[in-house]
Symmetry: C2
């Protein structure tokens, strides 16, 4: 376990300008050692995460409206899906609400950009996980000019209002940017091509997107800068073992702080037990 809170190490300070180039995608801040130690620590975290999730859920059944929403953003192959799989591995999936956002459908496009996001929010007691999110509407929308620049500009404020309202409603939003290097993305795309069982994930359009790398990094910098409350965590993602551990750990620290409690048992325990034993 790291001595310092991992949130402190990965959190982007609000108010400053963001320079992603200053963050090393291959770094492992706060890690309790190398790969072996990190994997072992991730394993150990599992039980505590599961316990905290159950308490959150239990509290939810008794009127506690609090919940958590983990937002995962990052370039192609940065491992959003892999992180979901890893984090869920520690949790009870019945208490999770997972949503992967793709290019908007025709129906979604007829609504405001936050419409589909609102419909996918976790209920009280749940842990929500977004694989991509409303941030796509200021990322790909900006880079690909899917809407006029002024419209993108207006969305930062809309997102801030939205996230402030979520906080007021008891939703802890944990925003993780999975920070991948350009070179590591090349290696991962080549690996996809080399493996017959992974090749289906690949399309030449991935290379076209990759050619827009600088524009995407800039779009991310603007998004992280303009929407800094709640804070973004920049999670170095070149090492999958670190990325998985770090996101699990950030979730753990937030849940510890929420410290949800099992509701008080409002019935007569002895009488319940006796009724159960009495009946034939």
């Amino acid at each position: 376990m790291p001595k310092r809170d991992l949130r402190e190490l990965l959190r982007l300070p609000a108010g400053g300008s963001v320079d992603l180039a200053a963050h090393d995608p291959a770094a492992t801040p706060g890690a309790p050692g190398g790969k072996t130690a990190v994997l072992a620590d991730a394993e150990r975290m599992g039980g505590e995460l599961a316990g905290l999730q159950e308490r959150l859920w239990a509290a939810g059944t008794a009127g506690d409206r609090r919940r958590v929403l983990l937002v995962l953003q990052g370039m192609d192959t940065s491992g959003k899906g892999g992180t979901v799989k890893h984090v869920i591995g520690h949790l009870n999936p019945s208490g999770c609400r997972i949503r992967a956002f793709k290019a908007p459908t025709a129906e979604e496009l007829r609504h405001d950009f936050l419409w589909r996001v609102r419909r996918a929010l976790p209920e009280p007691g749940e842990i929500g996980i977004f694989d991509r999110s409303h941030y796509e509407d200021v990322l790909v929308a900006r880079v690909r000019q899917l809407v006029p620049p002024a419209a993108v500009g207006g969305r930062y404020g809309r997102i801030n209002d939205f996230e402030r309202a979520l906080a007021e409603d008891g939703v802890t939003v944990v925003k993780c940017f999975l920070h991948l290097s350009y070179e590591e993305q090349r290696r991962r795309l080549l690996r996809r091509l080399d493996r017959p069982d992974k090749r289906w994930k690949f399309a030449p359009s991935d290379i076209d997107e990759r050619a827009l790398w600088p524009a995407y990094q800039e779009a991310y910098e603007l998004a992280l800068e303009h929407c800094a409350t709640p804070p973004w965590y920049v999670v170095p993602a070149d090492h999958k073992w670190y990325r998985n551990w770090a996101v699990g750990r950030l979730l753990l620290e937030h849940l510890r702080e929420l410290d949800p409690e099992y509701p008080r048992f409002p019935f007569d325990l002895a009488e319940c037990r006796e009724r159960l034993l009495r009946e034939t």
Copy 2:
């Protein structure tokens, strides 16, 4: 691995009357041995399940509309939630659509009983998991007389039409009744009371429901009888290790039969690789 298909062993034949008392909730049909052997076999299944799910998903991205819907029904404490957690443990949760149905909300009650179910269906390539389902509308609805008996009677046909339409649309529905004994339920409820971290799951109304055990068994028998296509599997559920293994195994056998295929790679592989390597 059992020599015979587990589906043959657990499937209720269509057309006959159903007598749940003739099924032993503590039996372990088709198990490759005792608890240790079954746990090891469940572990082994994991890789194959994950591989088949990935192929199903990949095929879905290329226009294959097929998907699977696992429906879990059973009395309180029969382990629907535990089974979801176990099955999901083998799968990539991003390709799953899990839904736990509770008592209908005011909005859900304003619609037809199948409305909320249709909204929770898996998309092509996905595996859907229902913890409770539209069958509640012929189970608790019948026992608690939430609707007039004639209305319940009409629902069996509605469910059959609905499930036939699903089959025609490429949805393989795998219906599992987790068959628990009255005595084992007592033990599990007592254990909930004894554990401070499980007590919150308990309410005296659980004992009231339990008092209606014979009426519920009868309602299940009628539902299983009237809605026998696709078939129901009666999964003995007194042993959690058997229950988890059996549901995983049923899912595996269905996926094997679907035998989804990775889509053909429609691009020039050498050219893609070269483009990736060329760019600086």
